[in-house]
Each structure stands twice: as structure tokens, then as C-alpha cells.
């Protein structure tokens, strides 16, 4: 870092304090900035809307509590949307903590859907190590890879898994992904090798690396990116939740960061000018 940039800089503790205030206040006093939906979020919504009732889908929970603020609201809104549309949900996890993440959402929702039964409308198959190879093996023989659910119930005793031998009878795969293994592997195997529709939700920071898969070949059908993607989906499904609430805080925090960037640049150019004058 050049001397110019180091000169007359704001103490980073002030930045931390202002950022803390800018995140905390909008969470307490809601501003209510408008939320607009992007094409990618509408594509995800359209995929679920077009999936016939009674279809079976895989939702893969490939994240841990660190990414919970961004991915959990997506998972909740998505599972709710599936239940509303009578779509049966098969949960898998390529991350060990993904199992608990899915259970957390299901336990939140099950009271609102008393007619939905575990094993018939929803099942959690638990965590499986192996990443991309696990997906490949699932595509060849699902029952070999998941002979029982996370509670140890045999796959033959779970009506939701009747007829599920590979990816053939699945409506789509939805990956909630915070990294590797995750959505890229689902695209490469479930879509590219087995030709099943794949969609997903990712953290804001990993979105640029995943967006290229949303293309004309429909390797990914839409993408929910970060907290905004979650808020957009909540808006589309008319179920405002934590993502919608968090958007105000995110907006103000981004604004504060932009203000600091502008201040940093003013500082830099002012110092540069002063240095030039000194030399002359």
C-alpha cells in the first residue's frame, strides 16, 4: 500500500462502529425499501409453479450455519412453496451440517402443514460424504447410496421414495449451496450427465462464479443469489420473512461502504495533489 493511501486515514474502529449502527438500526426500525425481482428469481419461481402436483424433488442442503442468514430464508420459502404446491420433498446433504439446517426449516414449517407427513411428503436422507461422486452414484442407483433415511428407516418403508431408483422420476433438483461440494457439482452431474432440471440458491459472494450456468442450455434454471435473491423469492411467494427484513440493513450497510470508498478516494487525490505541490 502506498504512503499516499496510508496518510490521513480514518481509524478503522470508526468504520466498524458506523457499520454496526447501520446494520443494527434498520433491523430495529424498518424502513421498507421496495424490493424488485430479477429474471433469475422469476425463473426459479416459474420452475416450481410449472412442476406438476405430486412430483418428487430433491432439495440439497449444502451449507452450514455460517451461511444461514443468506440461504436459510431461501430454503424456508422454497420448502413452503413446494408444500403449497403439493410437491414432495426429498432432502439430501453434501455438507454434514446441512442435515440440521433442513430439519430446522421442517420443524418450523410442520405445524403450519399438519397434513404433510414425514416419509410421505417429506424425507431427510441425511449427509453423505463424497461430493460429486455421491451425486454420480445417486444418478445410477439412488437406493444404493441412501439405503435408509437419517433416522435409520429403510428406504423401502418410505412411500415418498417409491419408484425413485435414480434421477429419472424427479421433477427437479434444487441445491442450496455455500461452496464446494454444491451447486456446480449438481449441474455437472444431475443436469449435464442425467439431464434433470437443476436450480439453486447461493451466497452473494459465490454468485458470480455460478451465474454462467444460467444459460440457453438451461444448465441452471434461474438462481437465487444472496440475501437479495432470498428476499425476491419471499416476495414472489408472498411470504415475507427474515430476508425481506434484512434487505433494509443490507441497503444501508452498502451505502455506508460506498460512502467510505468515496471518502478514501477523496483522501487519495487530495494527498496526491498536496504531494505534487510539495515537489514543485
Amino acid at each position: 500500500m502506498s504512503e499516499n493511501i496510508k496518510k490521513k486515514q480514518i481509524d478503522r474502529r470508526w468504520i466498524f462502529l458506523l457499520l454496526f449502527i447501520s446494520v443494527a438500526l434498520p433491523l430495529i426500525f424498518v424502513i421498507g425499501f421496495p424490493i424488485e425481482t430479477t429474471e433469475n428469481a422469476r425463473l426459479v419461481y416459474g420452475l416450481i409453479e410449472q412442476t406438476p402436483k405430486g412430483s418428487k424433488v430433491i432439495i440439497s442442503f449444502d451449507y452450514d450455519p455460517a451461511s444461514k442468514p443468506e440461504l436459510h430464508p431461501m430454503g424456508k420459502a422454497l420448502m413452503k412453496h413446494c408444500f403449497d404446491r403439493d410437491i414432495k420433498v426429498i432432502v439430501t446433504a453434501l455438507w454434514p451440517m446441512g442435515v440440521q439446517m433442513a430439519e430446522d426449516i421442517y420443524s418450523d414449517l410442520k405445524d403450519n402443514y399438519p397434513d404433510k407427513k414425514y416419509g410421505e411428503d417429506y424425507v431427510n436422507m441425511g449427509y453423505k460424504a463424497g461430493g460429486i461422486v455421491t451425486i454420480q452414484a445417486m444418478g445410477k442407483n439412488f437406493r444404493d447410496i441412501f439405503p435408509q433415511d437419517m433416522n435409520g428407516t429403510s428406504i423401502d418403508e418410505l412411500p415418498i421414495l417409491d419408484g425413485i431408483n435414480n434421477f429419472d422420476n424427479l421433477g427437479f433438483v434444487f441445491a442450496l449451496s455455500a461452496g464446494d461440494p454444491g451447486i456446480k457439482q449438481w449441474v455437472q452431474i444431475a443436469h449435464d450427465t442425467f439431464g434433470r432440471p437443476v436450480s439453486g440458491g447461493v451466497t452473494g459472494v459465490s454468485a458470480p462464479a455460478v451465474i454462467p450456468y444460467v444459460n440457453q442450455q438451461q444448465q441452471l434454471i434461474g438462481l437465487l443469489a444472496g440475501l437479495k435473491g432470498a428476499a425476491e423469492y419471499e416476495l414472489l411467494t408472498k411470504t415475507p420473512g427474515t430476508a425481506t427484513k434484512g434487505m433494509d440493513a443490507q441497503s444501508v450497510a452498502h451505502l455506508i461502504i460506498i460512502i467510505f470508498i468515496i471518502m478514501g478516494n477523496i483522501n487519495y487525490w487530495r494527498n496526491k495533489k498536496a504531494e505534487k505541490k510539495g515537489v514543485e
Binding site: F33, D64, G131, M247, H254, I258, F260
Partner: protein
């Protein structure tokens, strides 16, 4: 011999897997399927290996009083605590060797493992991740300086995407008439993500894919041997 046998196994497995992609019939498809199962079993054992390695590395640091060795004691204690509680009283749906720990569960509301997971682990992870926001803000203030044309372009693109990805962006330019909607911040942000970013990412992805193919061939052909350890 010690090195030749692993090299031979790697070569055979690599070649069979590649052939099975083009000829997915007997015997290649079948062998490939079996190898996948082996991989999954090995991946399961890798988790145990990882835990043993964590234990060994931390113990080494404590024994040799390396810098901040006290923190490593805490790591090991936390590790032992979680593993022991999980083994003794199980997790949400699975009993442990001492059953379900009803007495403790009645006091704290859930099983001890789930209690620690929900109230300690989850919050610690969320805290660690949240702290990044503070460092990003501080780093952005110092690093996003318009020194050259390239850095200026990066700066402008970053600001547009940052604003476009928030509801503030919608509020700021939502009033624009239909003829000027292309200046609407979420649209600009979407455009940047959809075209320049995607183009750049694709170039990186294609380059990386060629790199992976090259590395894989080097490993299969025994040119790259670092995975065997030693020189």
C-alpha cells in the same frame, strides 16, 4: 516397488473411469460403479482421518508450546466435549450409549449435543462470518482507489453492483420514466452480472477446466507424483 504399485493402481483406475464415460457398458460401467462405491467408503474414512489429524496437529502444537498454544487446548477440549456428548447421549434422533439423557434434556429443553449445536456452534459460526462484513468495509475503504483506468472501472462497476443488489438501488432510480429504465440500478447491476461478469467467469472456468484435464493426465500417467508424498 513401494511407489510403483500405487502408480499402477492410479493408472488403471484413471483409465477405466475415462473409458467408462465413453463405453458405459459391461465391464467398464460395472467396474466404474464399484469404484464409485469404494470412493464413498474411503471418503467416509477420510472424515475420521481428518479428526485424528486435527487431534495430532493440535497436540503437537501444545506439546511444543508453539505461539498461542493455549488456544489449541481450547480447540481440543471443545472437540472432546462435542464428541463425548454425542457418543454418550446421542443427537436429536439417535440415542447414545447412555440412552437419550432424559434428565439433562428435561432441564435444558433438548439433548445436550443439540443444545450446544443450536446455542453455541451455530452462533459462533454466524459470528465468524458476520465479522467479515466489518473487514470488507475497512478493506474496501483502503483498497478501492481510482489510481488507474482499470481500477476506476472496477470501482464504478463495484458501486453499481453494490447499489443494484440492494433495495436502496430500486428506491433511488425507481422513479425513472420507461424510456430511461435502462439506467435503473438493478437493471445495470443485472446487466453487469449477466454479460461482462459471465464472460470473464467463463474464460476462467474454461482455463481451469483445461488445467484440471492437464493435471489429471499428469497424475494418471505418473508424471505428477506429489500425492504419494516425499519428493
Amino acid at each position: 516397488m513401494k511407489r510403483k504399485i500405487p502408480l499402477l493402481i492410479t493408472f488403471l483406475v484413471g483409465v477405466i473411469i475415462i473409458i467408462s464415460e465413453f463405453i458405459p457398458h459391461k465391464p467398464f460401467g460395472q467396474i466404474s460403479g464399484e469404484l464409485e462405491k469404494w470412493y464413498l467408503i474411503i471418503a467416509g474414512f477420510a472424515i475420521i482421518l481428518g479428526q485424528l489429524s486435527l487431534f495430532k496437529v493440535n497436540l503437537f502444537k501444545i506439546r511444543h508450546r508453539q505461539k498461542n498454544w493455549q488456544f489449541f487446548i481450547l480447540t481440543l477440549l471443545s472437540f472432546i466435549l462435542m464428541v463425548s456428548i454425542g457418543i454418550f447421549w446421542g443427537t436429536e434422533n439417535h440415542p447414545g450409549i447412555f440412552g437419550n439423557g432424559e434428565t439433562i434434556s428435561n432441564t435444558i429443553g433438548t439433548k445436550p449435543f443439540d443444545y450446544l449445536f443450536d446455542n453455541v456452534y451455530q452462533n459462533l459460526q454466524a459470528t465468524m462470518f458476520s465479522l467479515l462484513a466489518f473487514f470488507i468495509a475497512s478493506a474496501a475503504y483502503r483498497a478501492f482507489i481510482a489510481r488507474t483506468l482499470e481500477s476506476s472501472l472496477l470501482l464504478v462497476a463495484a458501486i453499481l453492483v453494490m447499489l443494484g443488489n440492494t433495495s436502496l438501488g430500486s428506491a433511488l432510480t425507481g422513479w425513472l420514466p420507461e424510456s430511461l429504465k435502462f439506467l435503473h440500478l438493478p437493471r445495470i447491476s443485472e446487466f453487469i452480472m449477466k454479460y461482462p461478469t459471465t464472460a470473464g467467469q467463463r474464460a476462467i472456468m474454461i482455463g481451469a477446466a483445461f488445467g484440471i484435464i492437464g493435471s489429471s493426465l499428469r497424475i494418471i500417467l505418473g508424471i505428477e507424483r506429489s500425492y504419494l508424498g516425499g519428493k
